[in-house]
């Protein structure tokens, strides 16, 4: 990547496409159409939020990117990559921390590495590195039940980072947390992205969260979901201290709320 464009931005046409979803339709076995005409190009370095009402297919889109589900029609392609299997390039964070209660924090973070055949000894450095990234290096021997909700989520993020993914997929990861914790994790996530240089796709139903975090906010229609429009957010990377109270942030929230309410009105009409 050229030095001048170290921070890829929607305006920046030279950023390469990491994953592209083209004209995706997803129909479930029970006949429900979750996605229809879904198009999205995720560029390297993006922080894309998928924003939409409950049940609009946000999570389904994320699962398609991860390869956990196959699209009914359409394609998920990785233009820049020769590999067939992209799972080692993906980190996935669920809404719940989804930790193994019987294993301590270090062993939880070890799981993806272990499944790749790394012994605990060989994985030790990577585990410690991941835990340091989320500030939990002193909790390696703790069990999940001993941690607060925010700390469990940090472990979950550390686990997703242990494979050094190029693409981090997050499915409403902070929805169950209190606001104070959520704000702190929001800032930590932005810092992490700057440090790791990974691309993030973040599913949320919070206008404010998406406006705070994202470089691109993709607003989805109610089911069957498709991207209605995109709003341009801030550059990736840490936010200024007063960003949450800035006029720029307020304007962005207003803009996104406006688009979202137009969507729901359209459906009601």
């Amino acid at each position: 990547m050229p030095a001048r464009t170290a921070l890829p931005h929607p305006m920046n046409a030279t950023a390469s496409t990491l994953v592209s979803l083209q004209d995706i339709t997803k129909v479930f076995a029970n006949g429900v159409m979750a996605l229809s005409g879904f198009d999205l190009a995720i560029r390297t370095g993006d922080f894309v939020s998928l924003l939409g009402p409950s049940g609009c297919g946000k999570s389904t889109a994320l699962r398609l990117i991860a390869g956990l589900a196959e699209p009914t029609t359409g394609h998920v392609t990785w233009p820049g990559s020769a590999h067939e299997d992209h799972r080692s390039e993906i980190g996935f964070v669920f809404q719940e921390p989804t930790l193994m209660p019987w294993a301590d924090v270090a062993d939880n973070v070890w799981l993806p590495l272990r499944l790749r055949g790394l012994s605990r000894q060989d994985a030790r450095e990577r585990i410690f590195e991941s835990l340091s990234l989320v500030g939990l290096q002193d909790f390696a021997k703790a069990y999940p039940r001993e941690l607060s909700g925010g700390m469990k989520m940090r472990v979950s993020i550390a686990r997703a980072l242990s494979l050094k993914p190029r693409l981090l997929l997050m499915d409403e990861p902070f929805a169950a947390l209190d606001e104070i914790t959520r704000f702190r994790l929001n800032d930590d996530l932005l810092k992490l992205q700057r440090e790791l240089g990974c691309t993030i796709v973040f599913v949320t139903h919070s206008v404010y969260e998406s406006a705070y975090l994202s470089s691109r906010i993709a607003v989805m229609s109610p089911r069957p979901g498709r991207i209605v429009t995109e709003a341009t957010g801030e550059m990736p990377g840490p936010r200024a201290k007063d960003f949450r109270t800035s006029a720029r942030y307020a304007a962005l929230c207003a803009e996104v709320s406006q688009i979202l309410s137009e969507q729901t009105d359209e459906e009601r009409a």
Binding site: A66, G67, L68, E84, D85, R87, I90, F92, F94, E96, T98, M100, P101, W102, A103, L111, P112, R114, L115, R116, Y143, P144, R145, L163
Partner: protein
Amino acid sequence: MAAPSNPLKVVLPLAVFAAAIGLWEIAVRLHGIPPYILPAPSLIGTTMVADWPLLQASLLTTLKTTLLGLALAVLGGVCLAIVLSLSRIVEYSLYPFAIVLQVTPVIAIAPLLLIYMPQDVAVLTCAWLVAFFPVLSNTMLGLQSVDRNLMELFALYGAPASRKPLARFRSRLKALWYLRRPAALPAFLAGLRIAGGLSLIGAVVAEMAAGSAGAGSGLAYRIIESQYRLNIPRLFAALVLLALTGIALYLLLASISHRLLRRWHESALTQEK
């Protein structure tokens, strides 16, 4: 075990027990109840000592049957549960029969077993049968109770790239070892505790049904025999030994369960105040 949180929890039941024994002793002596109707606790104690060689042999027989039956039940129950969880086809074809056998009071087939098998084998089979199903159904429940998201995570990081049957089977084995096995542990241990008690019951019932004498006869046979001979003190002594066996078995299994789960499972955690 965790540090005893409250000494009263131990002291109070012991005091109640001692009081009950004391009252029993006093009542028998005051009313001059003959020992062939109700022996005093002291007489039961002396009988226990006097008849110890006989009772000890019976205790060992019953204990052996119970533990062997339990061990075989664990082996069979866990193996079958694993096979059922690995293959849908096997599960669909076999599990209904497992349920039918489970809801049938298998104790009632003890007389039948005695027709087909030598006595000691029949008794063992009976103990095994009643202990088998709690282990099977609890282990199956446990194996199926893995967090769905964890399985997804496993699919993302661990599933094989190829779709060949062998590779898929190996990935299932991996999931079994990494996720299902630890997730199933609490349910399995709950089943084990139930099975321990049931195995003893199975052994006792089968011994009673068998009812024939000999060197290899267990405590339940001693009870029947003492009843016929109106040797009520010995009957009580055998009963006490059976009760102690049950208690010891329960404590043993409970402490195993606690040891294995104390770091992470809700059931083994002591509430912090």
